[in-house]
Assembly symmetry: C4
Homo-oligomer: 230 residues x 4
C-alpha cells in the first residue's frame, strides 16, 4: 500500500509536468487488487504542495480507511470504474481537464481515429458520454458520472479503449497502473489536438482504414505484438 | 500594509510564471478594507526587475499615499471596481492582455459557458463590456473603463462572476485576494482557449445545461459545497 | 562600438529566449549614428554558440569594417532601412521568421488593428509588402527587399509603425535601439496570434475605432503621454 | 562506429528537446557509408532513460550486428530509404509523430510551399504518400512503408526534398547526417504549423512564385550559394 501511495503521488505530480492540469484540478487514483482498496488524491489540494499525506485510502464503498483528509470529490466516479474494470486489470484512473481533450468533451463529440498515433493506443474512436438528466446531476452526480462512462463503454473492451470523454466536462482515462493511466492521458491530449487540427485543415477527413487500425494496435498489443523489447 | 504589498508583488510576478503577461503589461492590485487603501504596481515597470519598491499605495481618490513612483495608468479602473465590489469582499484585481481572453475581448464577444471547467469558477457567461463613446475615451478613459465594466456587471453578482472582458482591450478579473484574482485570470485564459477550440470543432455548440452549471458551481461555492477540505 | 556589439549580441540571444527564432534564423543589427556603422550578426551562425566574435561591423555600403566573418545575407535589407529611417532615430532592426507574424506574411495580408494591445505599440495596420518582380528577386534580392519595405512604408512614419511583413517571407521590425526592436518583434508576434484567433472566432470583426487607437497610442507615445514613469 | 552511435544517441535525445517526440515515440538512425551499417534506436525505449546501450547496429538486410536489444520496429522503413538514398549522401533518417506535420499526414495532404521558410529547406511541396493496400499493410508493413515513401519521391531528388509524410501516420525525414535530419524534422514541424495557420487565415492562399522558391533555395544550397560562412 505504501508503494501504491508513492506511485499515485508521483503520477499526480506527473500531470503537472505533462501540462495536463493546473491549480488543484484533476486527480489520479490507484487500485490494489488484493485488498480492494483505492489510493486517491485528497480533494482540492494544490499540486505545488502535494505530499504523500495528501493520498487518501478508501474502500469500494467510499469509506476512508487511511488518511486525515477528504478524498477527491470524484472518488465515486473512480469507484464505479474500478468496480467494472478492475477484473480486466485496470488499476489506475486519471481525470484531467487537459485543454484539447476537454474541448472535445465540450463539443460532445467522440474523437475519431484519424491517424496511427491514435490507433497505437486507443482501438477505435474515443467515446463521449451522453447528456446526463437533471435527476442524475442533482443526486449522486459523481457516481452517475461513472455510470454514464460505463454506458458509453458498454460495447467496448476497457483494455482496448482506455478513455471516455464525459460530455461538457472532460476526460476520464485508465490503465493497468496509475503510471500507465497518466501516459494514456498524455496521449489522449496529444491526439485530441491533432484531430482538431486535421479537421480544420481538411474538413472532409475520414477515420483511417480498419486494416491500418488493426495493424497498428496489434503490432503493439495483439497476440503477435512485435513493438518494444521482449 | 507591508503584508499586502508583499502579496501584491508576488501576485504580479506570478502573472509572468503563468504566461499571462510579457514586458511591462498588466497589473495586480490589492485592497485593504480597513484602511481603504490600494496597493498597485507602478506604471510601466518591467517584471524582470520588479521589487517591493514598485508597489504604490493610493487611496480611493487616486492620491498617492506611499511610494515614489507613479501607479499603473489603470489605477482609476481599479478604483471604480473597488468602490463597487469591495463591500462584497473583493480585495484583489488583475488586468492582463492574456492571449485567448484578449482575443475574445477583441471579438467583442462574451464567453459562453461551454463546460464545467468554466462553470467551476464563473457562474454564467463572462460578460464583455459595450463600445465606449468618443467622449468616454477622450476624457477620464480609465475611470470610464471601470464604469463600463460595472455596467456590464449591473445584473450580476461580483462574487459569482469575477471577470469582465473590456471590448477591444482585454480582461479585468477580481477575487477575494490578489492571489485569488491571479488564479481567476489563469482559469479565464484556460477556458477562453477551450471555448474557441470548441466552437471551431463544433460550430453548433450550445452552452451547458443550467442544471449542470448550478451543480458544478454549487459543489464548490454553494451552501452545501463539498469540494476541497473542510 | 564595443557597447553596441554587446547590445546586438544580447539582442540576438534574446530572440531565442522569446521563442522568435530557431537554429540560425533571423538576425538583429544595431546602428551607430555617429560613425554610421552597423553591427550585425554573422551569416548562418547558430544561436547556441554565438559570441561577440560573431558580430560583424559594416558600413552603409556593405563593406566589412571589423570582424572575420561574413555578415548576415540580409545585410543589404538592413542597410536600406537604416538609410531611410536612421534620421528619424531608428538604430535597431530585427528580422525573424516568428510563426504567427510569418503566417500573416505568407497570407500576404496586413495585420489589422483589432485591439489596444496592437494599438499600444503600432499605429494602424502592420503593412505587408507587395509581390516582388522576377527581376527584383533575381538581382540584388536583399537590397530590393529593403526597397519594397520602404515602398510599403512610404506614407507611414517609421516611428509610429515599426514593422513591415515581407510578403511570402516574414517580418522586419525596428526600434530606437536593438533592444527595443526585439521588444517590437515580440509584441508583433503576440498580436499576430491574437489577430488570427479573433478572426477565427468572429469572422465579421472590424478594426478598433480610430478614437480608441489614438487614445492608446497617445497615452504611451503622444505629446501628453502618461504611461510609465516620468 | 562508436562516433556514429554517439551522434545517433544525441540526435534521438534532441528530438525531446525540440518537442518532436514524447514517451518512446519516434526514432533516429545513422548510416555508415563505408561499412554499410545502420545505427538505430532500440524499439520502445523511453527517452528519459536512453543510453548508448540502446543504440543497435544492423546491416542492410536487418540483421543485428551489435547490441543486445531489438531495433526500432521501423527499421525496415529506414533500410528501404538508405538503399535508395545513401548513394546521394543521405546518412541520417528521423521518424516522429510531431503534431503539426502528423496532422498534415492525417489529412493526407502534401504541404504546399507557402513561404520562404519552407523554401529555405525544402524545394517544392512536401509529398504525402498514397494509401497503402490491405496486402501492403498486412505483410511486411514497415518495408512497404519505405516503398510508398520512395514512390512518393520517385520524381524528386532526395537531397532537395528531405521529407515525406506517410499518409495517416507521420513524417519520415532525412539528411546528410543524423543531426541534419533532426534539424529538417524541426523545420518541417515549424512550417507545417505555419502552413495550416496561413490557410485558416487566408483560404485562397497559393504557393509562392517559383522564382522566389528558386532564389531562396539556391542562395542556401545552389551552385552560387552565399548564405552562411565560406
Amino acid at each position: 500500500m505504501e508503494h501504491l501511495k508513492q506511485e499515485v503521488l508521483e503520477a499526480n505530480l506527473d500531470l503537472v509536468n505533462k501540462n495536463l492540469v493546473i491549480s488543484t484540478w484533476g486527480n489520479v487514483s490507484g487500485y490494489d487488487a488484493e485488498t480492494k482498496l483505492i489510493v486517491i488524491k485528497a480533494s482540492g489540494v494544490n499540486y505545488n504542495k502535494m505530499t504523500i499525506h495528501d493520498m487518501v485510502v478508501v474502500d469500494l464503498s467510499g469509506t476512508i480507511i487511511e488518511g486525515d483528509k477528504l478524498p477527491s470529490t470524484d472518488t465515486p466516479t473512480h469507484i464505479e470504474l474500478y468496480k467494472a474494470f478492475s477484473e480486466k486489470g485496470v488499476c489506475g484512473i486519471v481525470h484531467t481537464h487537459s485543454q484539447f481533450a476537454t474541448s472535445w468533451a465540450q463539443m460532445g463529440r467522440a474523437i475519431p481515429c484519424y491517424g496511427t498515433t491514435h490507433g497505437d493506443y486507443f482501438y477505435g474512436e474515443i467515446p463521449c458520454s451522453r447528456e446526463m438528466s437533471a435527476e442524475e446531476i442533482n443526486s449522486e452526480y459523481e457516481k452517475n458520472t461513472g455510470k454514464v462512462i460505463l454506458e458509453a463503454m458498454s460495447h467496448t473492451d476497457c483494455i482496448h479503449m482506455s478513455a471516455t470523454l464525459v460530455r461538457h466536462h472532460g476526460p476520464f482515462v485508465w490503465g493497468k497502473t496509475p503510471t500507465e493511466a497518466v501516459l494514456h492521458s498524455q496521449v489522449l491530449e496529444y491526439i485530441a489536438k491533432m484531430a482538431i487540427l486535421s479537421e480544420l485543415g481538411f474538413p472532409s477527413i475520414h477515420p483511417i482504414p480498419q486494416v491500418l487500425e488493426d495493424k497498428h494496435y496489434n503490432r503493439k498489443f495483439g497476440p503477435g505484438a512485435y513493438y518494444g523489447q521482449k
